[in-house]
Amino acid sequence: MRLMDDALVIHRLHFAFTITYHYLFPQLTMGLAPLILVFKTLAIRKGDERYERAARFWAKIFGINFLFGVITGIPMEFQFGTNWARFAHYSGGVIATALAMEGVFAFFLESSFLGLFLYGEKRLGQRWHWVAAFMIFLGSWLSGYFIIVTDAWMQHPVGFEIAPDGTAHLTSFWALLSNPWAFWQYLHNMSGALITGSFVMAAVGAFYLLSGRQAEAGRLFLRVGVLAGALASIFQLFPSGDRQGQLVAAHQPVTLAAMECLFNSEAGAPIVLVGQPNMEEQKLDNPIYVPRALSFLTYRRWEAEVRGLNDFPREQWPDNIPLLYYCYHIMVGLGTIFIAIMCGAVYLLWRRRLFTARWMLWILMLSFPFPYIANTAGWMTAELGRQPWLVYGLMRTSEGYSPTVSSGNGLFTLIGFMGMYMVLGILFLLMIRREIEHGPGLLSGEGERERPAAKYAS
């Protein structure tokens, strides 16, 4: 590892820290938006006040979460220029199209309709309020697409040429927007967000049931959260995760080898479940694996040869293989557990035992942090896997940072962001705790306890 006074390291940490922190919020925004829309739709179709209250409760959580997403998102749009100026100049001819489109198509949509949604329910009337909810959902999902297009171009550049001044210029607008990499990455990412949304919803529901209040709301949240969670968890593995993996195998074979820590090429390569990369001796310590599974998953043939790291020149290896390996395995491992939890919960729901199965409610209540971890690990897999490239095959990360911003100035603002984000994090938890404590209110006449002093999981 280089020293902390190296500008490259500082700028990488700067971006990694701010983007990782930022993405804690949009994943819930994007995950909750369709679920709120489900409540709004049910409320209108069934004319049932309970769904209305549920929608209103989650809209409050959504509003707070959205605020923190906006606040931590503003620096992202700036940081390409502030910390990664050479990259911004090099790739601006292509990716700025996606980023600027996000501004005019998604941000205006979201922010205008959020004001209407939160402040104007009475005056809008139910149908228009539904439209506002839909527009927020549309805006947040569009926003996600433009960001994915940007990242997909860095992973798999398409639709460009290198101009005489050495920078990339767009040659096909549609090729950029329909990058095959973006398609699967988007679906994978959005179902990941939906997993976060549904786990959070189910966790709040489980908490209400376990603490014996807001029981009716708790049951409703569990039903919607568990069903959406099961669908999204399965979709996350297949087809979206599977296809994403095949794209990596096809276009970034060295990344695939690093994710699996496969040093030597192998026919019938195994998939590793657990194990610690040992870079010095080029092997995996304490491995537990499924024989030949990697070959099958990648090429659909048990005996297919998978190329190992040693087949590639060292300067093309991702620069932090153990971290990449761990991120990938954490993501996949948690994803598998999510399927088990959610399918188990759906089974109990179907057998009408979920609301009384306290063990399952405990699991659901305590498991909400894990989708955040899995989503973060997934993004780290994508971005660490892209290394040592900033734009795959075209520009190295070491060539992209701002030439005039010293490591000292970078460290100054990194520390500033850390302090600021710590305060923001505390405020966020405080706000969310208040809303959950307050709850959606009594949904029906059943005798529920009013606000007992209880401890909170969050």
């Binding site: 600027a100 005019v104 205006f108 104007g120 101009a163 701002s402 911003v405 706000m431």
Partner: protein, 347 residues
């Protein structure tokens, strides 16, 4: 085509200053117009549903600037590294201050976040003004089009200035007073009773400071950058811009005295448009002037993106901005009229 994009980016930045400008101004004057909790809530409700959308214009303008002139974005964002980061922190604090203030019914909590909101609004106004001052004054660009400015050096306007020197402090103060007037006019437009009266008094008093600072900054600009007159000499119609500034200033005083709130607000809007339009007019075709060697200046020709991008961009930009304007027209007409003291909805 690059000229068109210069105009479009300038339009978006101006839209940002006009729109977010009034809610920044509201932040500055909040403790002056709102003496009681009810009054403060009245003031804050006037910007509650719209401030977030207003701020999006900054992001969208930044995106458009990056899109059309990638080198300008790369150069200026890394060169203005420290002030931009401070601006980001202030924007965060301001959003938190405004939104979280109303969440907890506790006097200490509320007064703390009101203070955060006001202090960050005030500093943001100064920083935005200083930013415009830096662009007009010029920055020490190197042959590659990059530079780095410290926050301050010796406060003099030389070839190697800091972000803050006497000139940019002057433009910062001008921006502060401008947005104070603009914000007060918004409050006057959106409220009734005592709050409205106080807002109009603030406009009345600040007007003299605005007049003085406008004249001072004009003189100072001519003193440090006489070239700003070049475009005015070349295109006589450009003199309509200073005429608009004068009309707008007169309008503020005239309509304030007659209590015509909408015309008053539109006057300060016109003032902002004319001042920024004048700056853009004088800059053209330069985007960022080099204080070192004029040949290093970034212009719309050497900083622009590919021709294909620019023409395709025109299509999606027009579609996108038409939608955005439609949302805003709907949003503002939906929340039109005065904010009552009672009615409370949402959080």
């Amino acid at each position: 085509m690059e000229t068109l994009w210069f105009v479009l980016v300038a339009f978006m930045l101006t839209a940002y200053v006009v729109l977010d400008g009034f809610d920044l101004g509201v932040g500055v004057i909040l403790p002056l117009v709102g003496r009681t909790e009810g009054e403060r809530q009245q003031v804050l409700r006037s910007i509650g549903p719209v401030w977030d959308g207003n701020e999006v214009w900054l992001i969208a303008a930044g995106g458009a600037l990056y899109f059309a002139f990638p080198l300008l974005y790369a150069s200026s964002f890394s060169g203005f590294y420290l002030p931009l980061m401070i601006v980001l922190w202030l924007l965060m604090l301001r959003g938190v201050g405004l939104e979280l203030r109303s969440h907890v019914d506790d006097e200490l909590w509320r007064s703390f976040f009101a203070f955060i909101f006001t202090a960050s609004s005030l500093l943001l106004a100064v920083f935005f003004g200083a930013a415009i001052g830096n662009v007009v004054r010029g920055v020490p660009l190197d042959p590659d089009g990059y530079f780095f400015e410290a926050l301050w050096t010796d406060f003099r306007v030389g070839p190697h200035p800091g972000i803050l020197d006497w000139y940019t402090v002057l433009t910062g103060l001008l921006a502060l007073v401008t947005l104070t007037v603009h914000g007060a006019n918004w409050v006057a437009l959106k409220t009734v009773g005592k709050v409205r009266e106080r807002a109009r008094r603030i406009t009345g008093k600040s007007w003299w400071a605005l007049l003085l600072l406008t004249v001072l900054s004009l003189v100072a600009t001519l003193y440090i950058r006489p070239q700003v007159l070049d475009n005015f000499k070349r295109h006589v119609w450009g003199w309509a811009i200073p005429l608009m500034v004068v009309c707008a200033l007169a309008g503020v005083q005239y309509f304030r005295a007659r209590g015509r709130d909408l015309a008053l607000f539109l006057s300060s809007t016109l003032y902002i448009i004319a001042m920024l339009g004048g700056a853009a007019f004088a800059q053209y075709p330069r985007l960022l002037t080099a204080s070192t060697n004029p040949a290093h200046s970034l212009t719309i020709y050497n900083a622009r993106t590919g021709a294909y991008s620019l023409s395709v961009g025109l299509v999606w930009w027009l579609a996108g901005i038409a939608l955005a304007i439609a949302y805003f027209v709907f949003l503002y007409s939906f929340f039109r009229g005065k904010v009552g003291v009672e009615e409370q909805e949402g959080h």
